[in-house]
């Protein structure tokens, strides 16, 4: 039994870290008023870049940096669509996910990166790797950036009331571009971590809906970084438990076990909605475009 517990506990951080990092990226984007349904696609971009760089001999940290860059590049497309061309945020997000799914799958098969095992990121201390230790630091940095810096103030103003921000001389479009790019880098990093440190292999479905779960996590966390970290650990517990249960020989049908993260996400969304009918914590301008009224 204690074996089971140790095995479970030691695995939680590496399952929780990608959720947490992706959630931080989503929080930064959404606090600027951009509804980000593109997370799954951004994670795919990062995940593939990580694998590709590893296969071509890059060290893990370089691969992770590349993953963040790939997320950012994909994020640029998303930024052009939402903040630039002011396409409906839902359509933009979905289109980007579809685009990223297709592009990553295409590149992976054209480059023959699929199903190729890679070395992976090694633990540094207590069986955990660098990114796990970096996650709370990133969370701290995000909180500090949002609440203590001029850029954070600007970003939140744009997400709460773009009209007011505009009147204060803030460039709403530029701020949203910046927020999307920073957020996309983090989400890409989360995707890269999933392949470089966790799965250590690329298959087309490697993200498996974790981007969507991260979005739900942000709603659950009411756009607050520390609560998102807590939620990520919670989901890490669930995810880490699944292979343990199977390994421990408990007789639960395998595919029902695999449903649990999704069902848990649904439960969490229902819980968040049922208790918080007042949406005071949702950025007030989430999903809204800003156009300065020009009339005579």
């Amino acid at each position: 039994m204690s074996d089971f517990l140790v095995n479970w506990l030691i695995n939680i951080p590496s399952f929780a870290a990608p959720f947490a990092i992706a959630a931080l990226g989503l929080i930064i984007t959404e606090r600027a008023g951009v509804l980000n349904l593109a997370a799954e696609g951004l994670m795919l971009a990062g995940a593939l870049a990580g694998v590709g760089l590893m296969i071509n001999g890059a060290p893990p940290m370089v691969a992770l940096g590349g993953a963040a860059m790939a997320g950012m590049a994909m994020g640029l497309v998303f930024a052009i669509m939402t903040a630039g061309l002011r396409i409906n945020h839902v359509i933009s997000g979905l289109a980007l996910v579809f685009f990223a799914e297709a592009l990553t799958s295409y590149i992976a098969s054209a480059e023959r990166w699929t199903n190729k095992a890679i070395q992976g990121l090694e633990p540094v201390f207590l069986g955990q790797d660098v990114i796990v230790y970096a996650t709370p630091v990133l969370c701290l940095l995000t909180v500090w950036m949002l609440n203590r810096t001029r850029f954070g103030l600007t970003l939140r103003a744009v997400g709460e009331n773009p009209g007011a921000a505009d009147a204060a001389g803030i460039d709403v479009t530029a701020t949203r571009f910046a927020a999307i790019l920073i957020g996309a880098a983090l989400i890409g990093l989360a995707g890269g971590y999933l392949t470089v440190a966790v799965s250590r292999i690329w298959v087309d479905s490697v993200i498996g809906g974790r981007g969507w779960i991260a979005i739900a996590l942000v709603i659950f966390a009411r756009w607050h970084p520390w609560r998102a970290l807590f939620g990520a650990v919670l989901f890490g517990c669930i995810e880490a438990l699944i292979p343990r249960i199977a390994a421990a020989g408990v007789d639960v049908p395998r595919y029902f076990l695999q449903m649990t993260p999704y069902l848990a996400t649904l439960a969490v969304m229902i819980w968040a909605a049922a208790r918080g009918k007042d949406r005071w914590s949702q950025p007030a301008a989430l999903g809204h475009h800003h156009i300065r009224e020009e009339r005579g």
């Binding site: 001029r150 600007t154 709460e160 009147a167 005579g296």
Partner: protein
Amino acid sequence: MTNALRLNSVSKSFGGFKALDAVDFSVAAGEVHALLGENGAGKSTLMNIACGLYAPDDGQIEMGGQPVTIAGARDAAAKGIGMVHQHFKLVPAFTVLENILLFNPGRPAEQVAQQALTLAQKIGFDIDLGTPAGALGISEQQRLEILKVLVAGARIVILDEPTAVLSEEDGQALMQLVRGLADTGSAVILVTHKLHEALYHSDRITVMRQGRKIAEARPGDMDPARLTELIVGEHIVEEPEPSPHVGGTRIRLDKVRMRGDRGRKGLVDVSFEVKDGEIYGIAGVSGNGQTELAEILMGLGRPDAGTIEIAGHGDVTHAGPAHRRRNGLACIPVDRYRHGLAGGITVADNYAINGALAGRYGNWLWFNRRRARSEARDAIRTFDVQGVRNLGQKAALLSGGNAQKLVIAREFEGQPDVVLAHSPSRGLDVRAGAAVHDRLRAARDRGAAVILISEDLDEVMLLSDRIGVLAGGRLSAEFKAPANRPEIGAAMVSHE
């Protein structure tokens, strides 16, 4: 006297529409300059040029006698021009200090806070910098807006329709604040459409109409009638007309009670009745239960206690909107683009809604578009809805006055017994407002019971046969026309 700000022969067009045609305007330090005009006269465009949001197509801007270019809102602030917008530019989720900081980039927070407190004291504004802006009352939010531009170093303060959302009392207090600003050497531009503000609280008046400057005068040389004529361009005077015939009770509210949403007051034991052939006006400062009362009358909200009866239909307390409308209720809602029309569908379809719901154009599986269109065409003519190039045009393209006329055309076509009109002339120019008032009187003269909820006391007094005053969610007093204005004003601020 040197002008603090001077706009020389400024012109501005928007896609072929000439919003400003060679307008001269100036304001001096220590002066309150009132800018009057109807919606669309060009006041806002002129002021947006003054605060750097638009660049003029032609003409020059001078400050202190020197030509300048104002490159955006930041530059305007740096040059000492501060604009207080009609729709507040505050972030409700931010604290007072954060709102001020947002407007004052690149300065340390402590210094800004220190200055804000000093200036707040100077304008008599007792404020805690840590309060979220959303938790402030309307008049406090406005003071925060003024404080924001003062901290940014504004010596020229532009106030766009500052009293539009304030109670009479708060409006008076604001006018004193404005005078205080001018006395400390600021130049104040007061954009307004309220005559008495211009006449009693300014040093100079400029009147604009259709993008041109019509007149500039001293308040002492002006009177309300002359000013109205300058603003409107013709002689429109509405006089109260008593009802020709008042019948029996049509609708009765008995001890209606409703909890308010998000800290609003809701309704507390509201009882009144309205008779056939009568306009019952509901006066009060905005936010004292008007929204809740309108929702309850429309059938959108359910009262927590009390009853509503409509003669001939019995108790309708728990009936939904569809049921009430079948029973002869018509509504002119406060926000016509949100509650009155669907902007994305055509003018004809907007008109056809009532007929479709009543089953006039066929059953669930059939919609007689041809008939709907021809009826819409007739109604548009009857109710003088202008600006409809074709019936397939989207309703969002109608101007405020014509959108309201379309709503009225649809609502009045079934000869309703009960009419609810919530601020029916808000945002309309004088002529369009008068046309709406005529329709309401005509409905009353035909025998309908009309409930007029309006935050514009002049409108209530002009139209109503009886007046109820809503204060703090209670019906604090009732008056018969002709009523005494100060008495109503007193009732509006009772029951805090």
